[in-house]
């Protein structure tokens, strides 16, 4: 059993709860330890960095310093926004000594040390690289045959840092889908924008981006879309009804976290995986049967 530190971030404690629930359940089922970092704070997300770079780096790296204090090496960050913010802090402090000096000094005043030994990891990559395809395959109890899954990566886990997979031709999500026994459909839009915050800020643009993805999934006859990010999941799921009102087209496609899909294949219960918290579970239940 490998021990990982867990940085949840705010999303998976709120609207992204099914992600957290299924992540913890899947790690438990695969015998992997996941311990939440004590006293973690906001990652700064995408916004802070453009306001105050040093403060944003400090905010993110405090979490890494806490991880190092807990003698942890691998920090699993499931939310794409957190994953990117923490990776950016890790890489910036590695490359730019002047930023590192300022951050180390500030953390020192709070009796924290940053040595750069912690490593930010994405659970998708942990599952495939550390746990391994063979082990996952062995644990699959309920192969999801006949399920056509559209793999959807979103942006942040692929760009600009490519620690999870190649940005132009990613395949880890497809690899995982195949392990569950499902079919990974060829989804050309797999790393296009989900609309991000535009669904609330500039809704005509945001909704159009959601529409593109849902139409593309329909086109390739996907039963579900699997995502890696709470914001992607939210946008794709919540705006289906709104889109129907705007465009007249009917959308009814479940949006799952990859951890939920894997959990189903591992034979975990709907409750353990937070399936009841999704808006479009009934359709999925029909597919599963």
């Amino acid at each position: 059993m490998t021990e990982y530190l867990y940085y949840p971030g705010c999303s998976v404690k709120g609207a992204g709860q099914p992600y957290e629930r299924s992540l913890l359940a899947v790690f438990r089922a695969l015998g992997q330890g996941l311990t939440e970092i004590d006293d973690w704070n906001c990652c700064g997300a995408t916004a802070y960095l453009s306001v105050d770079q040093d403060m944003a780096l400090l905010l993110a790296s405090r979490n890494l310093a806490l991880a190092e204090r807990a003698a942890g090496k691998d920090v699993v960050a499931p939310c794409s926004g957190c994953f990117l913010a923490l990776t950016k802090a890790q890489e910036t402090l590695k490359e730019y000594p002047e930023h590192r000096a300022r951050v180390v000094e500030a953390l020192g005043r709070a009796q924290l040390a940053y040595r750069g030994t912690a490593r930010v990891r994405h659970p998708l990559e942990v599952l495939l690289r550390d746990v391994g395809a063979e082990e996952i395959q062995r644990r699959v109890k309920r192969p999801l045959k006949h399920l056509r899954v559209a793999p959807y990566y979103g942006c942040a886990i692929l760009r600009p840092y490519q620690s999870v997979d190649d940005a132009h031709t990613p395949h880890v999500l497809e690899d995982l889908i195949r392990l569950t026994g499902a079919t990974a459909v060829d989804f050309a839009h797999k790393s296009r924008c989900c609309g991000g915050m535009l669904t609330t800020g500039v809704q005509t643009v945001g909704l159009r981006l959601v529409e593109i993805l849902l139409d593309a999934a329909k086109q390739v006859e996907a039963d579900v879309i699997v995502t890696t990010c709470p914001l992607c999941q939210y946008n794709l799921e919540v705006y289906q009804d709104r889109l129907r009102k705007v465009t007249g087209n009917r959308y009814d496609i479940p949006i799952l976290y990859f951890t939920q899909l894997l959990g189903l294949a591992l034979g975990l219960s709907d409750a353990e995986l937070g399936m009841d918290m999704l808006l479009r579970v009934p359709v999925l239940a029909a597919v599963k049967a």
Partner: protein, 660 residues
Amino acid sequence: MSPDERPRIGVYVCDCGFNILGTVDVPAVVEYSKTLEGVAVAREYRYMCSDPGQDLIKKDVKEMGLNRLVVAACSPWLHERTFRKTAADAGLNPFLFHMVNIREGVSWVTADKAAATEKAKVLVRAGVRRVALQEPLEPRREPVNPDVLVLGGGIAGIHAALTLANAGKRVTLVEREPSIGGNMARFDKTFPTLDCASCILTPKMTAVKDHPNITLYTYSEVVQVDGFVGNFEVTIERKPRYVREDLCIGCLKCIDECVYRDLRFPNAFDLGLGKRKPIYVPFPQAVPLKPVIDPHDCLYLKLGKCKLTCVEACEVDAIDFAMKPERVTVQVGAIIVATGFQPFDARRKPQYGYGVLPNVVTALEAERLLSPTGPTEGVPKLKDGTLPKTVGIIHCVGSRDENTNAYCSKVCCMYSLKLAHLVKERTGAEVYNFYIDMRTPGKGYEEFYKKLLEEGAKLVRGRVAEVTNAALSKGETGKLIIRVEDTLAGQVRRIPVDMVVLSVGMEPQADAREVRRRLNLSCGSEGFFTELHPKLAPVSTATDGVFIAGACQGPKDIPESVAQAGAAAAEALALVDRGTVEVQPYVAVVDEDLCSGCRICLGLCPYDAIEFEAEKKVARITEVKCKGCGVCVVGCPSTAIDQRHFRTSYLLEEVAGVLA
């Protein structure tokens, strides 16, 4: 001059226009020089290398009885020869002159005038102390082998070989592929005249084959080069064809009768688009027209089991599975390197989908698709066998790009326009060109561009962001969508096409580094071989007797490659026709009184130039073989070896002069 005559040294400090004068206080250096021991005269002049400058020196030698000279100017690379000749013209031994570099070594590398002036003084002081010790020497002359080796059988190599052979020189032409012809043999038409590439190339290829003065080694590589200008020894390794070239008559029955009835192995000449059998000729006009057997594909060579129908079919018993790599050694006086380029690997721009999305091809692949002897017999087709209705040609793939190659590959604008014309002519497709800047300098090139515009080629100015199959509408579904910022229209466009051609740039060959090491060539940051001077010695290299031509020196098109090949041939001719070559007398000499006969130097000498004289029990250096590398001088534990013109005493005196 007798050895004990006191030195009377003339010091000449050059302004080199503002090149030196702009940073070094030349009058101060001159005044300082006058104070140095042995200096009889010191002068400043604007351009020392000019005729009046040299006359100044000659006049002083005669009128003031100077017996040694120091010129403080540019690098000895440029003008050491000039001033040695000046010394000789004035009646001095040319080796009683020393050149001090205060331009490349001083004025060009600092902006600090005080520091530059101080350094110039120090270097002149060191030079004056060194020259006082120098002894007269006589340069050696060595005979020059009149034969020439040409490395690479593309259009440049072919042209150079033919030019020399027509001048009566014996030429060895070495090509690594099974046929000569290079990349030009892959093209259908050439810009801007649209004349048929093979119609103008194949006569030259045949001429090479038939020329009594040319020895052609295809499927061969140069593995070693020894010797020096005028006297190179080149080792060539011939890969086994498994078909004896001396016996084969080129009837090609063996190919017809191969147990493989269908073509199933990718043909490298067609960049893998076309297929061949294990026994094949790369293309119908190959020279020599003798088949090759690929040992990775041939059943017999792979498994030892086959019906050997090819052997049966051959009436002259030319098929020989026992062939092994063979080495041939040739002696030549000059070498022309024409090893060409490799196309940029389009996978390095993953946003264009090469190797991932179907119907995205490189320009060289498009050339094959357009060739009547290519896999689609000259009519480009999509993977499903249908004709493309729209085609997008993307310029500058891997060129003018900080992430890959920063330089312009020069030929791509023109060949892209040519491809646009041919694709439209053959398929009727609507063709888009996506360019950053249209670069068409060259005779008839701009006119060709204009012709394309009149033909209705669609040109979009802007660097393409990506090629994707992520469709946004019914019209885009199943198409390749080119996303680009049209910088003339000021908007982002999505243009759906059926086929994408990537106009890849030119890069140095993958093994250019090994060729460089073998021939002691240098290269620029991008890896192309460097000429001796970018303007005035464009085909010479820093290695005497080695010349470069064609795209191994930098991106260039056919006319330019041919022009350069002709120039290289002329330079080589000028060398080998001279009959002899002057070799610097910088050889090592053994002081027999000091030599202990330990023989350490024998093992150290890279040129096998030292022998052991058993009777006297001392080492003896064969002057003809010695290159003056100095290894034995440093290696000798008894300090019994010294090198002429670089004697230890000179160097110590020079260092003492710097430190004084």
